[in-house]
Amino acid sequence: MLIKRKSAAAARGRLQAVAAGFGGASLVDRRAFLKRAGFTAGALAAVGTIQVGTVRRAEAGPTDFQQPIERKKNICTHCSVGCTVIAEVQNGVWVGQEPAWDSPINRGSHCAKGAAIRELVHGDRRLKYPMKLVDGAWQRISWDDAINEIGDKLLEIREASGPDAVYWLGSAKYSNEGAYLLRKFAAFWGTNSVDHQARICHSTTVAGVANTWGYGAMTNSYNDIRNAKTIVFMGSNAAEAHPVSLQHILTGKETNRANVFVFDPRFTRTAAHSTEYVRIRSGTDIAVIWGMLWHIFENGWEDKEFIAQRVYGMDEVRAEVKKWDPATVEDVTGVPGEQLRRVAETFAKERPSTFIWCMGGTQHTVGTANVRAYCTLLLATGNVGGFGNGANIFRGHCNVQGATDLGLDVTSLPLYYGLTEGAWKHWCRVWDVDYEWMVSRFEDKKMMEAPGIPSTRWFDAVLLPKDQVEQRDNLRAMMVFGHGGNTIPRMPEMVKGLEKLDLLVVGDPHPTTFAAISQRKNGTYLLPICTQLETSGSRTASNRSIQWGEQIVKPIFESKDDYEVLYRLAKKLGFADLMFKNIKVENDRPVPEDILREINRGGWSTGYCGQSPERLKAHMANQDKFDIVTLRAPKDVPEVGGDYYGLPWPCWGTPEYRHPGTHTLYNTNLHVKDGGGTFRARFGVERNGVTLLSEGSYSLGSEIQDGYPEFTYGILKKLGWDADLTEAERATIERIGGNNPDAVSWATDLSGGIQRVALEHGCIPYGNGKARVVAWNLPDPIPVHREPIYSPRADLVAKYPTREDFRSFRVPNIGFTVQKAAVDKGIARDFPIILTSGRLVEYEGGGEETRSNRWLAELQQDMFVEINPADAAERGITDGSWVWVTGPENNSRARVKALVTERVGKGVAFMPFHFSGWFMGEDQRKNYPPGTDPIVLGESVNTITTYGYDPVTGMHEGKVTLCQIRAA
């Protein structure tokens, strides 16, 4: 039994009694509840081995002041804020952690996870050596045997079922270099079914934002929020998910007396620090935003000049918004008209205003449409492309932005080039391989250009009849690197998929849920991969700043880093020599600096071309030179003068060109050589006779004082600027262009000449276009409200149904059928409570790593469900008691503790998504290899969550389903 000592609990109670003097309030808090409620079973070892009475000396500590101490800088491996971690290392052991005062991002701070990160490298619960499952028992094997056996099986499956029968699931925990390598690896293997966590966190953001103004990323930065006067959070609980960001946000709130509005179905920790909280019904974001715009348009609060110069299609939006009068909005969303009017007026008038969203907005069947609605609100009020405003999308994992950029995505090669023939030819040039050879690696050219299967649907591609999956055979093998197994809805079906696979390989510091949840007996391999703290490489924070992490200690136990594992696997599969042709390999480990140089050579489209390893390392060494608000170093500082911290992309041109990076995207107040820009001319130059280029708006110092298309060699010639190209640049362009050099663009010119010349004339290489609020290539070109698949309001489903069934990403999407069946069967009657999910500050993602960290695990020992006091009273449920949460699909059920709280409204329940190790009431601790079970286990919320996928990206519906709760 994992039991917290009574003395500790008693002391806690005492502290609370003391707290009564502070505001004289109710003393029930979440943690006190968990402690009072008794303590979860399991993991005696966590307590048993620890000597109490005195503070235990760890194997690692204490610091011996007689010995030399080395200080190493790396980046926290948890969320996307990108906090610098300073490690003190003695004799190769990480003995202490110090605050990183110099980092302009965290200034010494951490959250619970960052402050406990040293424990990851203590690693009591880590996977220590490669293992395989033999007739249901875990056996230790050597790395060589593991690679050989896995490789043989992969080649056998490839022979019988084609390259698309293997799924490559990568990680947002990879460094940029690791992410890029896996994408390249999948290409050399011959499939586009390569994905990572962005699918389930911000894929809809990337699609929605890129389809609005050009790039799929946060426009400004955490630091820049210090400039905001109005800050809106929608579906973001930053106080728990991105705690260190609150340092900047609260400073902004305090110094500017800024308005902070939090829209959420829950009164979150972030809401507790807001100036106004707006409770909405889950899944009605579009109706809320159109409701705000209704007031804005009705009262003429929109920014007319900004719209005229920089936005396409706003009039079409007005027609849709007209339908959303305050009464309709209140009926659908639950937000009173007066409150929405007040918030809308403030947002439009007290500028700069920034809009922050997270998974509460993205994880929906209408995720991409939600995102486009948020963007529309920002554009209507002129709140993009400046300081203190913008779409501040807080990404989830430490390198989810970088892994997205580098193409761990089923729809694109690295850096958003897509999968067209032109894109493949570009990367084949960068990789120095023959395009025809690359085609031969795939099933055929059609499959080479067809998007792969998103990570949300992989088990459907295993289980569906073969004729319903648009590839030669079903999926037969899963290669999982750094990805939790409890992160995707419909887990009972996922388990069936797992059991049907011929091969399952998990490469991770921990065994993960994938290893423990199914009844597999054979054909499962576990490869111990080290954390990013035990290797080196760069990672891209949410604000696009790229930070280089140095190796703190060597990989512990027998673990290896991602680079080495991919290299060994490539060698076994026979393409290592070609794949690593231009990358130095030392002792089977590809050198990450060299991988980054290759990224630089091909990364023109997104401005990943200027961030050489040397420049990034100089930034880490000179962190103290960067301003906390502007993120810029003074021009006269050696090495990094004039740069923005971490060279946030786009950082145009070659490293030698020394572009400073771009702190705020689309900012016309700055010269392009100072990080200025315009909206990207990505959607053409004209539509139905209306220009898509900006009108009368341009970045500071631009020689073209109007809109212009993206730059090509042909355009340079027309402008007469081609004379500025050097001979070498011209020769490269002509070599790439072959018969048609005029078509070589800023994104395919490997010399960087086109970019350089455009910048010298004050122009941005990608053109100066309008943002568009009508995305004519997407379903619902103007976002329309659609009820969730499982809606509590059958009457509204009739009025706002989900989209008709369709096929995408090689599999069918039968959301409409499921929604209709739910209404016909009266699911909302039997399952009357809306279930939503989210984060806790102590844990992250699937949680296996953080639940294995004893300093964190101690703080959250039980999986729970938050339930409103009224709902609890109706069901005879008391605080802290066991309950069964049941879902409408697969007879799903989960046994968890009840946390009775007004944090959730009546008819709403909330469960954190970090737990696993229990499945439908069964404790699966015995299924983990001995000694690798996380300290804390619990039911996964995704056992209960249900069908529903965004049409554009395949994002799952993680934030609205229905459930019933009963006392257990």
């Binding site: 000592r5 002391a11 707290a19 009475g53 005195t54 705690p243 305090e254 500050v841």
Partner: protein, 198 residues
């Protein structure tokens, strides 16, 4: 000589628990002992506030006054420390402490609960500074290294402040004046017999 104190700005505390795990990390505090905790009031309701709490290192500390074996002592900076060699685990200090700071490794009656453990302000104990013996019993001695307690140094929102009482009071005052609100230097009246007037 400085008078070292803690101050938690409850309008900034987001209950991220960095202070709690930073303490565990720096001092290798075992499972079940929490030298520092975050308490939330009005949880889930408007008015929700969190405060990070530990030993406040009181002026005229009540724990010191009641200890039958006189194991407590003050450093010249006003930090309240104790000797685990002298401690008999009687628990009087726990009853005397207005902040519930003292912790014991075992549950039990008089004398059987083990040596008391509490926040040392990252200042170790009576053993020689930075010695292995000191670390083993009390954890780190950052003060001897010229550093402040790690909990405050790592606070995500700079809510928890540690340092000379006058300096942190001035920082807090400036904040309250700038932002126009502040719920007071919580615990100061009890611990230090003074408040911060803004």
């Amino acid at each position: 000589m400085a008078r070292l104190k803690f101050l938690c700005d409850a309008d900034r505390c987001i209950e991220c628990n960095a202070c709690v795990t930073a303490c565990k990390n720096e001092n290798e505090v075992p499972w079940g002992i929490n030298r520092r905790r975050v308490v939330t009031i009005n949880d889930g309701k408007p008015g929700e506030r969190s405060i990070s709490m530990a030993c406040m290192h009181c002026t005229d500390a009540p724990c010191k006054a009641v200890c039958p074996v006189d194991c407590f002592y003050n450093t010249p900076d006003g930090i309240v420390l104790h000797s685990k060699d002298l401690c008999i685990g009687c628990g009087y200090c726990f009853y005397a402490c207005p902040f519930g700071a003292p912790q014991y490794p075992r549950v039990g009656n008089f004398g059987s609960r083990g040596k008391m453990d509490k926040c040392t302000y990252c200042a170790g104990g009576p053993e020689p500074d930075l010695s292995a013996a000191e670390y083993e019993k009390y954890g780190a001695n950052r003060i001897a290294e010229g550093k402040l307690p790690l909990c405050a140094e790592m606070c995500s929102t700079k809510s928890l402040l540690a340092g000379d009482g006058e300096i942190i009071a001035a920082i807090y005052k400036e904040r309250v004046l700038k932002r126009g609100y502040g719920s007071g230097a919580w615990g100061w009246k009890t611990a230090y017999k003074e408040t911060i007037d803004v």
